[in-house]
Every structure is written in structure tokens, then in C-alpha cells.
């Protein structure tokens, strides 16, 4: 099977230049590609368009890239945990496009699946519908939404193999499987990298065809936003 392994996060993000359109996996801080974000901070690329459900928090995740002024535009569904984001947005430093979460997920899937447009009920009658075609099917109104693609998708998985196959864990899966399909180049960092043939083909969430570069990350912090505990 074709070997997709690269040596490091820095090697994995090679070729990402100023102005690139990136998709970054994760829901809140759950499942974000920590090693690649650190490499992007080191590299200092600017004017990025970042497509991600959230924008991290002030001092972690995509929030760090915002702090460094690397992000020109953010496409997300919820950015409520990030004060610096709000400041940049209100001051006009940052462009932002907010989308319904399901629309974001489905537009990314459509980008990977060769479906240029589809109809969804989310956003009918709201600001989100502005400028979009509305059409009724079976007596209900729907918006036409278009596919979303990127230059690079950067995802983090639990296990991966040298052929680029990925298995996610828990709710850290979220947007990553669709993002992996919707970019010209998909980069995967994994907690555990194994030889091709080790993972059960039946359990693979993302087939290796979608992954161009893979490496084993290290030092995962996996910061928790809302540590909520039961007494007993």
C-alpha cells in the first residue's frame, strides 16, 4: 500500500503558503490537530482562511493563530469561547462567515463527494438565507447550499496506518472525516501510527485514499473546556 508517512508536523505542513484555505478538524478543543497548529504557528504563514466549527479559545487551538494575526477569514458555526476573535471581528481585522453547524458539515461532505449543491431546511427565513435560492419540496422550504473545499485539510485521529487509514476516538471524530475528503491535500496527525495491515479494514473511518501525509504526533495536551464531574 502507498506509504504516506512524513517525518514531522513541520514536514507535514510543507507547502502551506500565505493565503491558503485550510480546514481544521475539531469540535471546540476536542480532536484538534495540536501538532500541526503548533507547526503553523512556528511557520508564521498569514492571511489564512480557516474553516473549522469553532475558533479555539483565546490561548489554545486556532485561538493562538488568531493571536498571531495569521487568520484573515474564519468560516465556522460557533465562536463563542473566544474574546480575541470577538475583538478582531468587531474591529474589522477579521472576516467571518457563520454557518449552521449541519450546513457546514454537509457542505464539506459535498465538497469531498462531488456534489456541487444540495438543499437543506436549515436557515430558511433567517439571515443565512440571504442571497440563496429557496425552493419548496413536498410543501416545505429549503435553501440551496454549495460545496465547500480547501487547499489543505488538517485532521487529528486516534490511530492511523502508513497507508493513511484513520480511526478516530469518541467525539473527537466530529468534522475530521468529511474534511479529510474535501481538500487538495489532507494532512493527518495521529496518536498512534501503525504499519498498513494492522487496523481492521471494517473499523476504518477514513480510507487512506483521502490522506496525503501522515505522522505520529506527540505531547497531546487535549485541553478540556468544560470539565464537568459527577459527585458519585
Amino acid at each position: 500500500m502507498i506509504n504516506k508517512v512524513v517525518a514531522s508536523a513541520d514536514a507535514a505542513i510543507a507547502g502551506i503558503e500565505d493565503g491558503a484555505v485550510l480546514m481544521l478538524g475539531g469540535f471546540g478543543l476536542c480532536g484538534i490537530p495540536e501538532n500541526c497548529i503548533a507547526a503553523l504557528l512556528r511557520k508564521g504563514v498569514k492571511n489564512l482562511t480557516c474553516i473549522s466549527n469553532n475558533a479555539g479559545v483565546d490561548d489554545y487551538g486556532i485561538g493562538l493563530m488568531l493571536q498571531k494575526g495569521q487568520v484573515k477569514k474564519m468560516i465556522a458555526s460557533y465562536v463563542g469561547e473566544n474574546k480575541e476573535f470577538e475583538r478582531q471581528l468587531l474591529s474589522g481585522e477579521l472576516e467571518v462567515e457563520l454557518l449552521p453547524q449541519g450546513t457546514l458539515a454537509e457542505r464539506i461532505r459535498a465538497g469531498g463527494a462531488g456534489i456541487p449543491a444540495f438543499f437543506t431546511p436549515a436557515g430558511v427565513g433567517t439571515e443565512v438565507a440571504e442571497g440563496k435560492e429557496v425552493r419548496a419540496f413536498h410543501g416545505k422550504e429549503y435553501l440551496m447550499e454549495s460545496w465547500l473545499k480547501a487547499d489543505y485539510a488538517i485532521v487529528k485521529a486516534w490511530k492511523g496506518d502508513t497507508a493513511g487509514n484513520l480511526i478516530f476516538r469518541g467525539t473527537a471524530r466530529n468534522f475530521s472525516p468529511m474534511m479529510a475528503t474535501a481538500a487538495k491535500i489532507t494532512i493527518a496527525e495521529v496518536e498512534e501510527l501503525v504499519p498498513a495491515g494492522t487496523l481492521d479494514p471494517n473499523e476504518i473511518h477514513t480510507p487512506g485514499i483521502y490522506v496525503k501525509r501522515i505522522f505520529q504526533g506527540s505531547g497531546y495536551e487535549k485541553r478540556i473546556e468544560q470539565r464537568t464531574i459527577s459527585k458519585n
Binding site: P100, G102, I108, R109, P121, G125, T126, E127, T228
Partner: protein, 218 residues
Amino acid sequence: MLDKHQIAKRIARELKDGMYVNLGIGIPTLVANYIPEGIEVVLQSENGLLGIGPFPTEGAVDADLINAGKQTVTMLPGASLFSSADSFAMIRGGHIDLTILGAMEVSEEGDIANWKIPDKMVKGMGGAMDLVASAENIIVAMQHVNKEGKSKLLKRCTLPVTGVRCVKKIVTEMAVLEIIPEGGFKLLEKAPGVTVEEIRRSTEGKLIFEGEVPEMQF
């Protein structure tokens, strides 16, 4: 007047055995604490989990397992995990029997506003627009009036809406109300110690009631 736990407890009585339910952030999340005896429901989290269990004990915290409010959770036996696209396919496809969410405003037509205050709050809609546009059965948990004492049950929403003609039922600290197809808040139940007149004064939209309005049961 009910506190938020009592609102959650009253909403929990709307649960029927075998329902799949999506609980929004805030009061709706509390509903999970009051599921009646003998009723089994399965809770969905739109970030990709069906079968949410209780919050973990200190030792069982898992950063890879959170709900849509980013709180650490556990899974019940029989839980399943999936991607965000699959999760919203589940929601959009009408497979969730009941959606419970908070609101800043609801109109007498069933429109809901809960995602944006222009020039003030720019957090984003998250999954709310998908949920309200897709669910057949939506219950809103909210305060009847805002901090300035103004009604949040309006003729028309003043804030940017999240969805139109979608809310079916509302539970507030004062009352249980139903949105009727012709438009209007039909008063189904009043909270203990609250009068119909008080509810009428706190409801800007058309309030409809007939005869004696029963008191809420828990």
C-alpha cells in the same frame, strides 16, 4: 414562579418512553436529571454521540468525550459515535423525536430567536438552525420575561430569527404554552401561585385561554 430546575422538571414530563431526544445548552441540559421513573429516553449530542450518560467521575474524565456544550460526559451501554455530517443527517432527517432548546424570543407564529444580538453578541448559531428547521417536535425552555421585565413571548421576534414557524411548546417560569397553527400562545398550564392575569401581562403576543387553566403538575 418556577426556578430553572423546576422548568426542567416540568419539561421532563413531556418525555415519552422510547424517545430519542436532543437537549440544548442551559436549562434543557438539566432535563436529563428529571427523567421520570419507568421512562427510557436516549439523548443525542450533535457533535456525534447517541446515548449520553451522566457526567464522569473525576477518574473517568475523557477529553475525547464531550457533549455539544463542550462538557465532559460518559456513554451509556448501547451508545454509538459518528461524524458531524452523520449527526446532522440524523437531525435533518427527522430521526430525533424531541428537541428541547433555549430561546431569547419566541413569536406567536412559532418563530424563534436564540443566536444573535446585533452589534452585541456574535457567537454564531452552532447547530440551532439545523435543529429548529428539522425537528417535528420542539419545546422551548425559557424565561417568560427578560432582565428588564419585557416579554420574550412576542407578536414578532425583534432579534434575528433562528427559524420560522417551528416551536410547538414553551415552558417558562410562569406557564406551559402551545403555539397554535393559526398563531398565538395557548395557555395550557400555569405555574403554582401564578395567575392568568400575570401571565397575560407578561405575554406580548396573543395569549389564548379557555375556562379554568390548570396548575402545572410535576
